[in-house]
Amino acid sequence: MSFFVDQDTRLIVQGITGREGTFHTEQMLEYGTKVVAGVTPGKGGTEVLGVPVFNTVLEAMEATDANATVLFVPPKFMYKAAYEAIISGVPLVITIAEGVPVHEMLKLHHLAKEKGCRLIGPNSFGIISPGKAKAGFMAHRIFMPGNVGIMSRSATNCYETVFLMKQKGIGQSTCIGVGGDMIPGSTFADMLPFFEADLDTKVIVMIGEIGGSEEELAAEYIKKHVTKPVVALIAGKNAPKGTSMGHAGAIVSPDGEGSAENKEAVLKAAGVVTAEGTEHLVEILAGMV
């Protein structure tokens, strides 16, 4: 099971009857995504935009043979909804909510791995394969098909990047928001084998930021297993220590762990090209593709 969202994706929207859920279901349908079911406990039997709604993910899976779900539910209900999706056997679970309690994400991170589920997010814009399908809330008009695969902790830095790419005529194979929270369901390193194997991806872009060790772990993996060129941007070089920069995950420990300097050094040692900012990143890409 690839984590890519494309024509073969049959998507469930959990929280489809909510304001956000309905709005983005419409957007996703418009973009060509096969939204096959919605789930809202207590609203089973109804329809939203022609999509049948079920009380449980289990029933939605059985009735529609869905293979992915995106969760438009508030952070305080995220754990319960993602837990249900994982236990019900959905192979790809994409979570949007920002500010999920850390202890709940710790549990979900391991639960998903143990059950063989690919969990994306939280605090993620979702996944888009431009021109094919999207699962998430990203402003899809700025994306265009191409051969750059992007994975990003930040939505806005990804938007800025694809916006500048479009001006230069460079498109994307797949863009994934791994999310800005402290504990992601899936990490950069988890994504790399898929981008490495993906025939549509020629160059891999990693938009990281300060905090945590995901970029370092990705560098380790790249060194050993990735043959495609990787370009990285680390945001937050000038952020003060011990202060979260908005993303719960973007925080350098008082002892310096998670600093941009370290991340850039490790990435460079792994053969990754590092950019100063989004415009610089796109300049580098223009010279590559």
Binding site: P75, K76, G99, V100, P101, V102, H103, L106, K107, H109, H110, L111, M138, A139, S152, R153, S154, A155, T156, N157, C158, Y159, E160, F163, L164, G180, M182, I183, I207, E209, I210, G211, G212, S213, L217, A235, G236, K237, N238, A239, P240, T243, S244, M245, G246, H247, A248, A250, D255, G258, E276, G277, T278, E279
Partner: protein, 380 residues
């Protein structure tokens, strides 16, 4: 959110961790009302959100009620690192035989809980790590699991804590783990965890840091958040669901943007040009004109700020709304200079509005161009 010592102590009591009695006072009256409730000799400790209170005289001993009132009042009148001491915490002075360290925190790399124990304690864990690395043991615990007896025994065996303390130590570990899990802690620390003259293990002082995103589950803690927030602008911003981030004291620029990534990118590029950002404000999604106005008011109210860099990449956010917000904010901003970069939905309409304003607003096309304009502005 980091809890003050007295609040951490309250949690320790609630979860039945062995610790001595404690009392809190915020005023002379409250100090007087403690007569007969305090065991002497006692320790009086200033409750402030900063380190180094010991050196500043914020920790003192009292042998009797008279001394308690005299020294307590004295501490309540102090400022420690510019922070007023609003509250003191009074506990028994304990006879210490041995100081140890125990904590549970997150290991982001492994996405697990890590238990850290050292039979050396009383100072910062980083100092222990430098002086006695062999006396620190770290064990990873799966997030969904309880803390197992064998983990605790392993920690004892590795550090050489005598097995005669097994039961008491297990009890302390399990109770502190309960605090860590049930209170959604980022950190639950006892330092020093002491063995007293009667060979009892007691939690003498603690640090608790609770996940802000979990506070909806902990209403009793939530109400203390505003109380201990030291930055009035951050408080002001939170009322509008903005995030206000103090960056560097010496700067003069404030960044207003939508999205954490965009804010970090802006600060990075500005710093690279040799300028210094003092604060940033994250608008979040879907800002209206009215909210933009409030955001600009908040960052501008810091007298150090003479320039605001507004960087908006609008998806759901409409650029004309932003522009109208800027327009209506102008009269509050005084001499503050604005550099504005708008992109996305209704960009042209937004630019038209901004051009119509009779004020010094630099308009930029793109983030790099924006930072260049900002640099030019600084030269003026």
């Amino acid at each position: 959110m980091k809890l003050l010592e007295y609040k951490a102590h309250e949690l320790f009591k609630r979860f039945n961790l062995p610790c001595s009695d404690g009392n809190v006072a915020v005023s002379l009256d409250e100090l007087k009302s403690l007569k007969g409730k305090v065991n002497f000799p006692a320790v009086i400790k200033a409750q402030v959100q900063t380190g180094g209170r010991g050196k500043a005289g914020g920790v003192q001993f009292a042998e009797n009620d008279a001394e308690l009132i005299e020294k307590g009042t004295n501490i309540l009148d102090m400022k420690i690192k510019d922070l007023p001491v609003n509250r003191i915490f009074i506990t028994d002075k304990v006879e210490i035989d041995k100081e140890m360290y125990l904590s549970f925190t997150l290991d982001r790399k492994h996405k697990k809980t890590v238990m850290i124990f050292s039979p050396e304690g009383g100072v910062d864990i980083n100092e222990i790590a430098e002086a006695h690395p062999e006396k620190i043991v770290k064990v990873l615990i799966n997030p969904a699991d309880n803390i197992d007896d064998f983990v605790i025994e392993y920690a004892m065996d590795k550090t050489g804590l005598d097995r005669s303390y097994l039961d008491e130590f297990k009890n302390v570990c399990k109770k502190l783990y309960d605090v860590f899990i049930n209170m959604d802690c980022m950190l639950a620390e006892i330092n020093p965890l002491i063995i007293d003259k009667n060979n009892k293990i007691i939690a003498l002082d603690g640090k608790i840091d609770i996940d802000d995103n979990s506070l909806f589950k902990h209403r009793d803690i939530r109400i203390f958040k505003d109380e201990i927030e030291e930055n009035p602008l951050a408080l002001d911003a939170r009322n509008f669901d903005f995030l206000y981030i103090p960056v560097k004291d010496e700067g003069n620029i404030s960044v207003v943007s939508n999205g954490s990534g965009m804010i970090m990118s802006s600060i990075d590029l500005i710093a690279k040009k040799g300028m210094t950002v003092t604060s940033a404000l994250d608008l979040g999604g879907g800002a209206t004109a009215e909210r933009i106005k409030e955001a600009l008011r908040i960052v501008a109210s810091n007298p150090k700020v003479d320039t605001i860099f507004i960087n908006i990449f609008g998806g759901i956010t409409r650029c004309d709304e932003i522009a109208n917000g800027i327009k209506s904010a102008m009269k509050d901003l005084g001499k503050t200079r604005l550099v504005t970069r708008l992109e996305g939905t209704n960009k042209e309409a937004g630019l038209e509005i901004l051009k119509s304003i009779d004020a010094d607003i630099q308009l930029a096309d793109g983030l790099v161009n924006g930072v260049e304009k900002l640099a030019q502005e600084m030269l003026v």
